[in-house]
């Protein structure tokens, strides 16, 4: 059992970078039964190792959909929970653009009862008011936890990382704690943040536009204009909006010249491609 657990964690890490490894992980996950990954509680108050699967149901979908295996992977450890840096995931698969509810599954000792369910964000703040939970627990100890996201979360300005903790009490009085790996949520609404909009290129500063939220697979055209309306810089984002957002930067260089533009005010426009919808129109000041 211990070897399988290690193998499973190993597979979970590998899948971040390669589809081949994802397939491998699926085999490992689907071959054994769900219960094979359950570690029985080792003592009262201790954390318990185990494996969960997560299912999500989008607002427009009528049936539960299994997420790609890496996002479905929950690692519950004994003692300190394993935390997976979400940035190592294939970002596209970590993206939840319009999820309204998330299902978490785990298996505990038959006859256990749920004591508490809590959710915290990346800064360990309790975000329960934005979520509501319901659960079912089978006589065999299988727990289905349903997490509903209200509109507040969906319109929240920043990317949210949520960790859910489920505590159950076994018939013998021991407490089992299940901790999910971080779940990333992004607002449906596209959020544009602008940083360093007054910058000094000769001090290695650069202007930043960060666009998060919205749909995946978006491309943007990033243009800088001078006061006369002439284009001084133009670039199409090579990286898709991946949920973490697209970051567009400008170091003050004039289009393909290697020369920094003169000091002054410039106008920034970001268009969503291919329909060329304007998502950002602002000013930036270059000082040399």
């Amino acid at each position: 059992m211990r070897n399988k657990m290690i193998l499973h964690i190993f597979a979970g890490i590998l899948i971040h970078n390669s589809t081949l490894c994802i397939a491998l992980a699926e085999v490992i996950l689907t071959q054994p039964t769900f219960d094979n990954y359950y570690s029985p509680p080792s003592g009262k108050g201790n954390r318990v190792s185990g494996v969960l699967n997560t299912y999500t149901s989008c607002g427009v979908m009528t049936k539960k959909t299994v997420l790609p295996v890496n996002t479905a992977l929950f690692i519950i450890t004994k003692g300190t929970p394993v935390s997976i840096d979400p940035r190592l995931y294939t970002e596209k698969q970590q993206y939840y653009p319009s999820v309204k509810e998330v299902y978490l599954y785990c298996t505990t000792v038959p006859g256990s009862e749920v004591i508490s369910i809590t959710a915290v964000d990346q800064e360990n703040r309790v975000i329960d008011p934005e979520l509501s939970f319901s659960y079912t627990i089978s006589p065999e100890g299988k727990v289905e936890l349903r997490m509903l996201l209200n509109t507040l979360l969906n319109t929240y300005l920043l990317t949210r990382e949520i960790i859910v903790t489920l505590r159950t009490s076994t018939p013998s009085g021991e407490t089992t704690e299940f901790i999910s790996s971080p779940l990333l949520f992004f607002p449906d609404k596209r959020i544009v943040n602008i940083y360093n909009n007054i910058f000094y290129p000769h001090r290695d500063e650069y202007f930043i536009v960060n666009i998060s939220g919205g749909n995946t697979e978006e491309k943007f055209e990033f243009s800088i204009y001078d006061l006369m309306g002439n284009i001084v810089y133009n670039k199409q984002s090579g990286v898709l909006n991946t949920g973490y957002g697209t970051t567009l930067t400008w170091d003050g260089e004039q289009k393909n010249s290697g020369v920094v533009v003169p000091s002054g005010t410039y106008f920034v426009q970001v268009l969503l491609l291919p329909q060329k919808t304007e998502v950002c129109n602002c000013k930036v000041v270059v000082i040399q």
């Binding site: 000769h202 243009s223 006369m228 002439n230 284009i231 000091s263 000041v285 040399q288």
Partner: protein
């Protein structure tokens, strides 16, 4: 007076040319290239070379005495909207000396890019500062001097000098104050088309480099050359100008063209286009004269399709001194015409149009002469 002017003119040009050889790599103070005058913008800054009836582009060329001899005082202001809500204005006060025809113009332009909400990150990505400041607040205070129009053979020649005091503040923290100068020459040839003009100007030549922070920048000096056509036989009420603009301290260069048509004594319409870096932008506008007031409006597009709007109001008082002589010059032209001396007749009529652009009889006579000389 003219000798003194010539001396100053030559001296400033020598200083400018010597300075240009030692320019810094980057040409800053770009806002001085932004024209606020609706009339000039509608022609896309192509009216560097003036015929006898083009607009009043003192921002482009100080050789303005070809067109404004009938104006003693002009007060105009312009409001600009577009490009993320930036604002600009221009005010011009003109005085032409009655005894020798030298024109002095005091003018001022201002520009504000509006407020900007500023968020600064450190190298680790943490927000370290947040505030709202004025992005840019800049202005030009200038004096233009243009001596009386010279007549050399069949050409009418005007010259001029503008001295500009420029103030520019970025983000309420970094300020530049400097002196810039414009010089220019404009020749009107009355024997071609029947009016053909050629003008060359040097704009925004500076005497020193400057920096907002630490990097030295040069003035945005521009060399402009343009031709103008007026009173073409099949378009007697239309003025067309075509210009080439080249940055002296930068790689910028572009072409522009403008057309101004007199619909009636009170109404002018204009159209312009600019070719810059493979993009074409357009402008359109008009002027309506109501007594001594002229109302101007121009809309122009940027590359991304953003519309910029300029509206201006202009008040002028015509000079009684020059009005008295116009009829004399016109009558002299008619005498030359009747005697078959079409060359001198065209010079007289061109001068009449120079002083009173709305003089329809003189334009008509020039058109007739143009047909006869072909």
């Amino acid at each position: 007076m003219n000798k003194l002017f010539t001396f100053i003119f030559v001296l400033i040009n020598i200083l400018i040319l010597s300075k240009m050889l030692n320019a810094a790599e980057t040409a800053g103070l770009q806002f001085v290239l932004l024209t606020h005058d609706p009339k000039t913008v509608a022609l896309m800054d192509s009216c560097v070379s003036q015929t006898t009836r083009t607009s009043f582009p003192v921002e482009l060329t100080p050789a303005v005495n070809t067109v404004n001899n009938d104006i003693v005082t002009e007060l105009s202001s312009t409001y600009l909207r577009g490009l993320s809500d930036s604002y600009g204005y221009s005010i011009k006060l003109t005085r032409t000396l009655a005894y020798n025809g030298t024109t002095f113009i005091f003018w001022k332009t201002g520009y504000s890019a509006g407020e900007i909400h500023y968020t600064k990150l450190d190298k680790t990505g943490k927000t370290v500062f947040e505030d709202s400041v004025n992005a840019e607040s800049s202005g030009v205070t200038a004096l233009t001097l243009s001596p009386k129009l010279l007549r050399v053979s069949t050409a009418l020649i005007s010259t001029g000098i503008t001295l500009k005091y420029v103030e520019s503040t970025l983000a309420q923290c970094c300020t530049v104050n400097t002196l810039l100068a414009d010089t220019g020459i404009n020749c009107i040839f009355t024997q071609i088309f029947p009016i053909f003009s050629l003008g060359i100007t040097l704009n925004n030549a500076g005497f020193n480099d400057y920096s907002y922070d630490t990097i030295k920048e040069s003035p945005p000096t521009l060399l402009r050359a343009a031709v103008g056509l007026q009173a073409i036989p099949f378009l007697p009420d239309c003025v067309t100008t075509i210009a080439y603009h080249k940055g002296v301290n930068s790689n910028n260069e572009w072409y522009s063209a403008g057309c101004e048509n007199r619909v009636s004594e009170k109404l002018l319409i204009r159209f312009g286009l600019k070719l810059y870096d493979g993009y074409t932008t357009y402008a359109a506008g008009g002027s309506l004269r109501i007594r001594n007031f002229v109302l101007d409006y121009t809309v122009n597009t940027t590359v991304n399709g953003t519309m910029m709007h300029r509206a201006g109001i202009n008040y002028s008082i015509s000079s009684a001194v020059y009005k008295e002589t116009i009829d004399d010059i016109y009558n002299k032209g008619v005498e030359y015409f009747e005697s078959g001396d079409y060359v001198n007749a065209s010079i007289m009529f061109a001068e009449v149009i120079t002083k009173t652009p709305e003089h329809a009889d003189a334009v008509r006579m020039l058109t007739i002469i143009g047909g006869k000389l072909k």
